[in-house]
Structure formats: C-alpha cells, structure tokens
C-alpha cells in the first residue's frame, strides 16, 4: 500500500507543477510601401572568438569557440525623401537635391554562419544554441558599428549620383546637377 501511495502522491505533485509555456503569439505580416535605391553592396566577413576560461571555484576546464560569419550590407538613398522641391527643372537643366545616403539592408543569412572550432575541456558545459546566438548578436553589433569606418555611404552616394545622372540624361536633359547633402556642410 505504501509504495502505491508514494507513487500516486509524487505523480500528482509533479503533474501539478507543469510549466505553462505556450508558444508566443505571432504578429501578422506588415506590408509597407517604400522607395529605396540601393547602389552599393559590401560583403563583410568576421571571425567571432570567445574564450571562456574558468574563473569560479566550481568551474573546471575551459571553453573556446570560433564562429565565422558574413554580412551583406546594402546602402543607397531613400527616393521617397526626394521631396517636391527637391527636383527643379529649368529648360534643359535639372537640379536634384540628393537625400543623405544610408544603410538600406543588413543581412546575416544563417547559411553564411559556421562554427569553425569548438573546444571544451573538463566539466564545462557545451555551448548551447542560445549561447551561440548571443555571440552572433555581438558579432552583428560589431560589424554594424564598424560600418561607419568604411566608405560604404560615400560609395552609395557616388553611385546614386551616377544612377540619377544617367537616368535624367537618357530622358533628354542636357545638364544634370546633383546637390549632395555633404555639399551643404
């Protein structure tokens, strides 16, 4: 009788403690009208290095991981920012006030991320997928921060100017003047 009583009690106890963890609600798709002209694409590579040496008394062993990843970054201008007064025509001359260039898309495709080396010694836990995602997030932040030190926005602006000059020249304008944001400063 006693083992059965124990078993029934413990089973009820365990079942009563069931964690309620439903899947999150998902937002419905959101469609927006945009007008982005992307003119430059940079592919940036990075090797993410994590060296997790034991620091606490109960930790025994080290953990190391190297993850390689690529980010595809596009830059250009927002054509929707070409306001009414931004394009002026005088005879055969057209003047355009170019909006500032910006990053138009940043993609780190899952197919471009690879764990190159993983080394775990002693009694340390393996890296979970959550750990790895946290490292990749930091890697993404690092790439985003470093973009300011590249010429991507300058290249995007130059290419946008070339595109617009070509576009309006083909329409029959003899002179196309593009005023850049940087010219105003």
């Amino acid at each position: 009788m006693k083992p059965i009583l124990y078993t029934v009690f413990c089973t009820l106890f365990l079942l009563a403690c069931e964690e309620k963890n439903p899947l999150p609600e998902v937002d419905a798709g959101d469609v927006r009208n945009i007008g982005l002209l992307s003119t430059t694409e940079y592919t940036v590579g990075k090797v993410i290095v994590v060296n997790d040496s034991a620091v606490e008394w109960y930790e025994f062993g080290d953990r190391k991981i190297l993850i390689s990843c690529h980010a595809k970054v596009k830059a250009g201008i927002d054509l929707k920012e070409l306001k009414d007064g931004a394009i002026k025509v005088v005879g055969n001359t057209i003047k355009i006030e170019l909006p500032p260039s910006k990053i138009t898309s940043f993609t780190m495709d899952p197919g471009d991320i690879h764990t190159e080396m993983e080394d775990i010694t002693g009694f340390r836990n393996v890296f979970t997928q959550e750990d790895k995602n946290a490292f990749m997030r930091q890697g993404e932040e690092s790439i985003r921060d470093e973009l300011d030190n590249t010429n991507i926005l300058k290249d995007a602006e130059d290419n946008a100017v070339a595109f617009l000059v070509d576009f309006y020249t083909q329409q029959g304008f003899e002179k196309v003047i593009v005023k850049r944001e940087s010219d105003k400063q």
């Binding site: 798709g29 007008g35 993410i48 979970t128 959550e130 490292f135």
Partner: protein, 203 residues
C-alpha cells in the same frame, strides 16, 4: 498512525532538500549566466559591388519554428529517474526559434534590362519585372525561445532555413510582385519631370 507520521517526516525532509538544492542551483547557474563577451577581432571587407536595385515593397513578419523529439518508449512511473520525463511530457529535446525578417520586392535595374528612350514628344521607359530582392535576417532578429537537450549547428541552420522559406511563402500570399509594380510606377512618375507623353513598360 506511525506510518503516517513517518510519511510526513519524509515529505518534510524531501521538501527541505529540494529547496536547498534549488537555491544552490540558482546561485551557481546565476553566476554562470552572465553574458560572455566576444573578443575584439577585425572585420574584413570581402567584396564591394555596384548595384542598382529599387525596392518598392517591404513585408515584415515573424515565424515560429518548433522542433520536438519524444522518447520512443513510455516512461516507467515506478522509476524515479523517469519522473522528470513524465513531468516533461516525454519530450526528449526541443528547440523553438522565433525568426523575424523583412522581405523586399522591387526592380533590379541593371544596364541590360532598363532603358529610356526619349523623342521630341514622348518618353518610353522599359523596366524589368519586379522580383524578390532581399530576405533580411540576422541574429539580432532571431530568438532562441526554448532549448532543451543538445542541438547541433546543422539542425539549427536547417530550422532557420525553414523559417526563411516560410517568410517568403507568407509574403507570396500578399501578391507583392503586383504591389511592387504599382509602387514602382508611382515612384517613377513622381521622379520624372517632363511634359512629354510618358509610357512605362515592364519586360
């Protein structure tokens, strides 16, 4: 009566041991939960490409990809080692990802598929048909919602690729190519400054 007393004492001991164990676990795991920082390493620019893409529609969505594996055999209720299995509904391992992404449609305006022909009284523009330009995903927009058991990179990658396909198929339901075409016409008409007769055609 004696048996009941012993049962109560045993339960009290079990509760005290469990509580102490729980606090020890949260203390140890709490200190281990501090986020590890990656080392400073250089970013390498691997390629620079001149492109000409006009994105006219953006679709933003999020999908949940859930993968669950159950034990093949039912848990033995009399075996204390199987009790956690029972508690966990026989789930052997589970990985749930929430993937947010943007899908962009628009025109890939390369030299060969884009032309402008101007005469004295008309302007003819030939544009390429709208196409899928970008599927924007990144680790900052991917959340590991639940992870139980051990999962390897390849399995996670396959789930992410499944999420990517699901995002694209969700976008396709909205007939975004047609919308991209309408928006492209509207955008170009606002940019063209001429009194000539304008004709825009997609090929």
């Amino acid at each position: 009566m004696n048996n009941q007393k012993r049962l109560i004492i045993n339960l009290v001991i079990l509760t005290v041991v469990g509580t102490l164990g729980y606090f020890a676990y949260t203390w140890i795991s709490g200190s281990a939960d501090e986020e590890l920082k990656i080392q400073e390493t250089e970013n390498n620019i691997q390629s620079i490409r001149t492109i000409a893409e006009i994105s006219t529609v953006n679709y933003r969505d999020e999908v949940v990809i859930d993968s669950v594996e159950y034990y093949d055999t039912p848990a033995n209720i009399y075996n204390p080692l199987d009790w956690y299995r029972k508690y966990n509904r026989d789930v052997k391992r589970r990985l749930t990802l929430i993937i947010k992404g943007d899908i962009r449609y628009g025109l890939d305006v390369a030299d060969e598929n884009f032309s402008v022909e101007s005469t004295e009284d008309s302007l003819k523009i030939v544009l390429p048909e709208p196409t899928l330009l970008d599927v924007i995903l990144s680790p900052n927009r991917t959340e590991v919602y639940k992870e139980e058991g051990t999962w390897n990179d390849n399995e996670r990658k396959q789930m992410e690729m499944k999420g990517k396909k699901k995002l694209i198929s969700n976008a396709e339901k909205f007939k975004l190519k047609e919308k991209a075409r309408e928006n492209a016409l509207e955008l170009l008409n606002s940019m063209i400054k001429t009194n000539k007769k304008i004709s825009i055609r997609f090929e």
